[in-house]
């Protein structure tokens, strides 16, 4: 459990004089669930965007599996094995539920333009494999019955599940979850929590941002606490809970919310 999958070193991110992340270093080990928490404006979203490649850092390094990825565009990082979900959902609403997950397997296909046009046996075999894998995932997430439905018609909870299924379709090595249970009623939030810990038991490494403290405390092996872009604590749930600085800066307000 000591192999580092993601390494962030001396990361700083400034926008127009505002420092969103200041000199941040941390690791995510293979097989762990790490949570990033902090009050609004702490830099959590910026951190996610920097790791995923949506935002460029001002300085510092991001390594995935030992190799630097900070110069790579988002899609190349995804191809290396970093999949993510979004806080405000980025679903292909006009495509069917099944197609959403099929698109998630994009990087596992090899057929090019000419093969697509001719639709030969090789492409058909590949298509069948993609459909089978996508249906497997939909079964797991209880969405198989909705496979042919337009994704935009699903409920919010189902869309959260669908987005996770789509992310998993690429068979990633690191899963970035941006507020996976935000806005979900308690029962669905618990279901999502079980899915995440189930994936982790199968070996998935997870980095998540979440405001739901109950979820964070029960799921995470390790918690990183940010405030104003600075790391103020890192440790297990118990350690973080006892940390004075954290209590002062964050937990006091968050548990009222």
């Amino acid at each position: 459990m000591t192999e580092k999958l993601l390494q962030v070193d001396d990361l700083t991110c400034r926008f127009d004089g505002v420092t969103a992340i200041a000199d941040l270093s941390f690791d995510v080990s293979v097989g762990e669930i790490k949570a990033v928490i902090g009050p609004n404006g702490a830099g959590k979203s910026t951190l996610f965007n920097v790791i995923a490649g949506v935002t460029r850092a001002s300085s510092g390094q991001v390594r995935f599996d030992g190799e630097r990825i900070d110069h790579l565009p988002t899609f190349r990082r995804a191809r290396r094995g970093i999949a993510r979900t979004f806080q405000n959902l980025q679903i292909f609403r006009e495509m069917s539920v099944l197609e959403n997950v099929m698109v998630g397997r994009h990087t596992h296909g090899a057929a090019g333009l000419m093969q697509a046009i001719i639709h030969g046996p090789a492409l058909q075999a590949e298509e069948h494999a993609i459909v089978a894998a996508a249906m497997d995932l939909l079964n797991r997430f209880g969405l198989a019955g909705k496979a042919d439905v337009q994704a935009g018609t699903l409920s919010f909870g189902q869309l959260k599940m669908l987005e996770l299924a789509r992310a998993l379709a690429s068979e990633p090595r690191l899963l970035l979850l941006d507020e996976p249970v935000a806005g979900l009623p308690r029962a669905e939030a618990d279901q999502m929590g079980e899915i995440i810990s189930g994936l982790n038991r199968e070996g998935m490494t997870v980095l998540l941002v979440e405001h739901n403290m109950r979820m964070v405390m029960s799921l995470s092996h390790d918690i990183l606490v940010l405030n104003n872009g600075y790391r103020i604590a890192e440790g297990t749930a118990d350690e973080v809970r006892r940390n004075r600085e954290v209590l002062a800066a964050y937990l006091g307000e968050a548990e009222d919310a």
Binding site: T74, R84, I117, H119, D148
Partner: protein, 347 residues
């Protein structure tokens, strides 16, 4: 390295998974897909009767024109409806294909059969070069660039008289020939246009139901989401724009060899805009929409031969009405009616 393999199916007994696959959407998916293929082939088989039942050559010429227009509108629909990019220069690529194939034939005696792929290549390469800088940027850069491109082409077609024949048009283009027989009548040209349109419609259908087609639609709907699952949005858009222009180039080559003539007015910016209107009228982003668009685009001017100005007004009015009442275009009408009927039965 622990391998997490969420799609291996270990959570469901494999046989059960396969069973549910067979019972559920998988089979429906396959049937739905093949039904478009079947429909396409059936319609084109029926179209084969046109030269035999048409009362005169004029009607066959309209069928030829409609099928060429179909390729043109379908090429724009691929870019606009499925790829989410707007080209204001599709008529320019159409013209580039026509003049490339026509000039090659008139000046250097290159046969129409070689001119056809050459037209596709030249239009495709032009689109690639235009797309390379503009598709990287978000916003309306492609629309602006293609608008300028079309304007430049029209000037070129008009001014480069020694090559293009200028405003008088390009004369003396040879028709397709088949084993020494010139396909110089409308009836003889029909099989060429028929086959080309069938193959292109088939290619588009296949493309849409492939990994690349899904990626294309994904990029058009949500680029952020597409990037996050490893799709090279820029690469996909560039490929789509290139293919779209190459298809328009093929339409141009067919046009010039069937009509044995090309004139700059056929390829102006106003035509590009009309093509966009036809994509929207037929149903942008629907597979069958361009068929309806091509029918309207070909038939309406014939019905209004004596009222040239009425044509534009009618197209404009028609587009407003259709898009207000049926935002999905004419191809979406049956679905819209079914929904309305269903809600009326079960309020």
């Amino acid at each position: 390295m622990v391998s997490a393999s969420p799609v291996s199916g270990t959570h469901v007994a494999p046989s059960a998974a396969r069973e549910s696959l067979r019972m559920q959407p998988r089979s429906r998916f396959a049937i739905w897909r093949s039904s478009d293929h079947v429909r396409l082939v059936l319609i084109w088989l029926a179209l084969l009767a046109v030269p035999f039942i048409a009362p005169n050559a004029y009607v066959v010429s309209l069928a030829n024109l409609a099928l060429i227009n179909l390729i043109l509108i379908a090429s724009l629909n691929l870019l606009m409806g499925f790829g989410g990019q707007i080209s204001l220069g599709q008529a320019g690529f159409f013209g580039l294909g026509a003049y490339a194939s026509g000039v090659l034939n008139v000046k250097w005696g290159v046969s129409a059969w070689l001119g056809l792929p050459a037209a596709a290549l030249i239009a495709g390469v032009a689109a690639f070069v235009i797309g390379l800088p503009t598709l990287r940027l978000r916003g309306h850069y492609l629309s602006m660039a293609t608008l300028g491109w079309n304007a430049i082409l029209v000037v070129f077609f008009n001014q480069f008289v020694s090559l293009t024949g200028g405003p008088n048009g390009l004369l003396g283009v040879k028709p397709f020939a088949f084993f020494g027989i010139a396909l110089d009548t409308e009836q003889r040209a029909f099989p060429v246009v028929w086959l080309a349109s069938l193959l292109i419609m088939l290619a588009i259908l296949n493309l849409l139901h492939s990994r690349i087609g899904r990626a294309l639609r994904a990029v058009a709907t949500n680029e952020l989401g597409a990037d996050a699952i490893g799709i090279d949005s820029f690469g996909i858009k560039l490929m789509c724009f290139t293919v779209s222009a190459a298809l328009a180039g093929i339409a141009g080559s067919l046009y010039v060899h069937v009509n044995q003539y090309a004139s700059p007015d056929t390829f102006g910016i106003s035509i590009s805009i009309l093509l966009i209107v036809m994509v929207a009228l037929g149903g942008s982003g629907t597979y069958w929409g361009p068929c309806l668009g091509a029918l309207i685009y070909t038939a309406v001017p014939q019905l209004l031969l004596n009222y040239e100005d009425a044509e534009l007004m009618l197209f404009g009015l028609g587009m407003l009405v259709v898009l207000i009442v049926f935002p999905g275009g004419l191809a979406g009408v049956p679905d819209a009616l079914r929904r309305r009927f269903a809600s009326w039965r079960h309020p």
